[in-house]
Symmetry: C2
Subunit: 215 residues, 2 copies
Amino acid sequence: MHPAPQSDRRPYIRDSEDARRTALVAAVLDLVAEGGIEAATLRAVAARAGVTPGLIRHYFGDKDGLMRVAYGRMMQGMVDPCLAAAVAAGGDPVARLRAYLAAALDPAALDGRTVALWAAYIHRTRQDAALRAAHEAGYLAFRDALEGLIAALPVCPLPPRDAAIALNALLDGLWLEGGLLPQGFAPGEVQRIALTAAARVLDLPELTETEGPKP
Amino acid sequence: MHPAPQSDRRPYIRDSEDARRTALVAAVLDLVAEGGIEAATLRAVAARAGVTPGLIRHYFGDKDGLMRVAYGRMMQGMVDPCLAAAVAAGGDPVARLRAYLAAALDPAALDGRTVALWAAYIHRTRQDAALRAAHEAGYLAFRDALEGLIAALPVCPLPPRDAAIALNALLDGLWLEGGLLPQGFAPGEVQRIALTAAARVLDLPELTETEGPKP
DNA sequence: CCTTCAATTATTCGCGCGTATAATTCCGCG
DNA sequence: CGCGGAATTATACGCGCGAATAATTGAAGG
């Protein structure tokens, strides 16, 4: 008998909704980081996630829906590690603050990919109300946590709000510069400068002490 | 005789090359600031400049040529005022530094339009070699000037390079936050915090003094 | 006034985009 | 085993893009 005129339709396997949504969002963030917002076309996203563009419509409705979810995931990925690091640092206020600052400039966060991803979304946050809300929430969560850590210090020569704004700006700026000109800084230099400057702003020389004495 | 079948071709007047190039570049920057890179299509740029798209090709060759020139102009517009302010501040090192810092956070620079414009180009600077060169040149010119101002101070508790990196980061971060969340700060608050924090980093209490006593 | 030629506009092309809808195929359940 | 329906793919449409080329027109010089 003849071989059945085999379909040239691409075979596929069904997957859970969670897995598909996760894969699609990850594909968006990869593409935006590599090529800017303009690179994250539905066709490119689908190809990277190993599906076809129609599936995006199935799960996210339209492109804006997908971009919104992706943005939320990005913000979460940037803020959560810092909050977790502070919690993991134990009860000493200075140690908590140092852990927070160090986590914000962790080498993993300090790469151009993250900065490019963040910058690519900036403009969207100025026009799309949903994105702007997500942006402000993430930003203020970060800064408020910082202000809380500062307020918990035994002494502080500045109003906590002012100190939090200044230190947050310092972190933002160093993160930007370190991410955009990675070869412009020696390894660890960015973190070292952050702790030094923060220590001077807050009058906290202990902030720069290394914590692990050799055994 | 019949009325000549009057042409429906758009009338125009000739203009100098400089005026046309300037108008087209200004149109690009306006559109990018308002709607991101994606909004600066050749058709939209031409319409805003009051010409037709073909003229862009005539003067800039292709879209990339236009975008490169526009980027250079943006960087120039951001860095030059600060350098000029420092020069105009006279010979006192502290006054020069204060003028430089204040100019970087001048309300005219501290608006979302400028930040959005800058962010929109970030990704391009990571892929286009010509843009990257222009970016690094502008960035380092700014930071090196800052380092020079710091080195001219009578005393400095930090290596000038470290202090310049930290202060530059502080300025960048405050500029970002002030531009993106304009309603999050009281008028003048951003500049005040910048001077306060810089004064503490450099051990320069004079930096925060107001200079104009009432007559 | 008329010629000349660069400055400017008009038209066309092919492409990739996002959306919409129809057609198929995988897989759990009976 | 087979069947029903949701998950997934395929196809088509209209639009705006950047680029290329052809056609026109404004203005300067003789």
